[in-house]
Amino acid sequence: MVGAFFFWIFAFTAFFAGVGVVASRNPMHSAISLVAVLISIAGLFLALHAEFLAWILVIVYTGAVMVLIVFVISLLNLDKDEPIDYTAARRWGMAALTMFIAAFLVYLYADPLIGAGHPAKPPVPDDWGSVQTVAIDLFTRYMIVVQLAGVLLTAAVIGAVVVARKPEQNEEREPGA
């Protein structure tokens, strides 16, 4: 009962905030809506007994990634409303395509829902999905993957610095070149 209550609260928040991400004309509102989506997904992770992932999602995504995006929005002064000047054909085409994808996904999932019912939820120990269970996996079986992820992050940091760096004074580029 309590679980169902929380599921519906988080699910509705996630859905409406998701609509907000796509439909807000102001990028800042999109970003804040995405933060709400992420917090709701973290809540759903908690309902799925994935405590570690839930808080990592909050720390990494809302605490770092989204702050960075929000930062760039206000730094570049992009918080202007985006004009709506799509042709009707284009807008309806996109809506139809998305509806198709959504219907397809819901069909894929809902087909067994009507047929067989939900798979069972096995009982788990209290600390399942907490830091230790994930960490043991990460630092034994997937050690190399973790190392590679570290290399990837380092490469991304260096890449970001190189790409975003201001061009040097003596090699000034033409705008649009």
Binding site: N26, M28, H29, I32, V35, I39, A42, E51, F52, W55, I56, V58, I59, T62, G63, A64, V67, L68, V70, F71, S74, L75, D79, D126, D127, S130, V131
Partner: protein, 352 residues
């Protein structure tokens, strides 16, 4: 879940929640007075004395004044976010208190209350970092939604500063996790009993150096996280006309003000729990151990709060590039080296 079980879980939690919440807000109100009094002393003044004996009714007068002021929303402001920002600040500040263990296990009227802690979650420390990382949004959105360039600069500064120092904050605490092996706040607190030499700041288990460095790294980044001097650039009065909260008035301003002080108490409580032995007495024999754990906890927290106020009265503000330089090129490498030191210490002590 049976009725009696529900009762035994729900009633203690609710009681603890109510008590901690009210005590916290009362403490916050008087913390403002304490800060003004102490600042007065530091500057050869006496501080507020007019309202009540020794100015003791000053917080009530301040609160009344803020309540009765006109609530202004600027025309250029983004209404929804402008109203949401102080709420986010206040809620995240209060939520972080939920996992702090103020005292040991106790029983009342035959009901086991557990630790004096609202929620003893398995990933307590991650929870705290998650919630405090949301606190950035309160300040940033306040700055952005005000439609004022000073506020915007304050908001930008605060988000950059808080992301930068959050790294050091997290890394400085990792040494405790390595030594203690748990993220549960109550368990970290329990692991430091029997005398101050077992507190993680001095612990001989790893030859005390990592604990000491970790504590000071934590304290410095905590100053930055709470936007206190010497890192109060987001609200620097003299250059930004108090930054992100320039456009706020009445209760919304009061919420930012309270959130700031709640945050100070939170970071001090976390430091106490992680480094200073939580509710354990410094010496493990009679006159010290007979004092209740909560008193020890509060004594440690208020000593740290005193340090916060002391630093405010002592140090000038950093320049912005100095702040960034200090965070990324001094504190962060130091925190990383400290983790290596802690690992080496733990291996040498044979606790790995």
């Amino acid at each position: 879940m049976t009725d009696s079980h529900l009762f035994n879980v729900l009633v203690p939690s609710l009681l603890k929640m109510v008590v901690i919440f009210h005590v916290l807000l009362g403490v916050v109100a008087y913390l403002v007075l304490v800060e003004r009094k102490l600042l007065g002393r530091f500057q050869q003044r006496v501080g507020p004395t007019r309202v009540g004996p020794w100015g003791l009714l000053q917080p009530i007068a301040d609160g009344l004044k803020l309540f009765l002021k006109e609530d202004i929303i600027p025309t250029k402001a983004d209404r929804v976010l402008f109203i949401a920002a102080p709420l986010i600040s206040m809620i995240t500040a209060l939520l972080a208190m939920a996992v702090i263990p103020f005292g040991p296990r106790f029983e009342l009227f035959g009901i086991d209350f557990g630790y004096l802690q609202i929620a003893d979650v398995n990933v307590g420390l991650l929870y705290i970092f998650g919630i405090t990382s949301l606190g950035v949004y309160g300040i940033f959105l306040a700055g952005w939604s005000s439609g004022n360039k000073y506020s915007l600069i304050g908001g930008l500064r605060s988000s950059a500063q808080m992301i930068s120092y959050e790294l050091t904050l997290g890394l400085s605490v990792i040494v405790i996790l390595m030594a203690c092996g748990s993220l549960r706040m109550s368990q970290i607190a329990e692991s430091q009993g029997d005398g101050f030499w077992n507190w993680w700041i001095f612990s001989t288990q790893w030859y005390f150096i990592p604990g000491l460095i970790g504590f000071f790294l934590y304290l410095i980044s905590a100053f930055a996280e709470t936007n206190r001097l010497p890192f109060d650039l987001p609200e620097a009065e003299t250059e930004l006309v108090s930054g992100y909260n320039t456009e706020y008035s009445s209760m919304k301003f009061a919420m930012f003000f309270m959130a700031e002080y709640v945050n100070i108490i939170t970071v001090c409580s976390i430091a106490t729990t992680l480094f200073l032995g939580a509710w354990h007495s410094p010496l493990p024999f009679a006159p010290f151990t007979s004092v209740p754990g909560v008193i020890w906890f509060l004594a440690k927290v208020f000593s740290l709060v005193f340090v916060f106020i002391w630093i405010r009265a002592t140090l000038p503000r950093f320049r912005y590039d100095q702040l960034m330089h200090f965070g990324w090129k001094v504190l962060l490498p130091l925190a990383l080296v400290n983790i290596l030191l802690a690992a080496a210490g733990l291996i040498a002590a044979g606790s790995f």
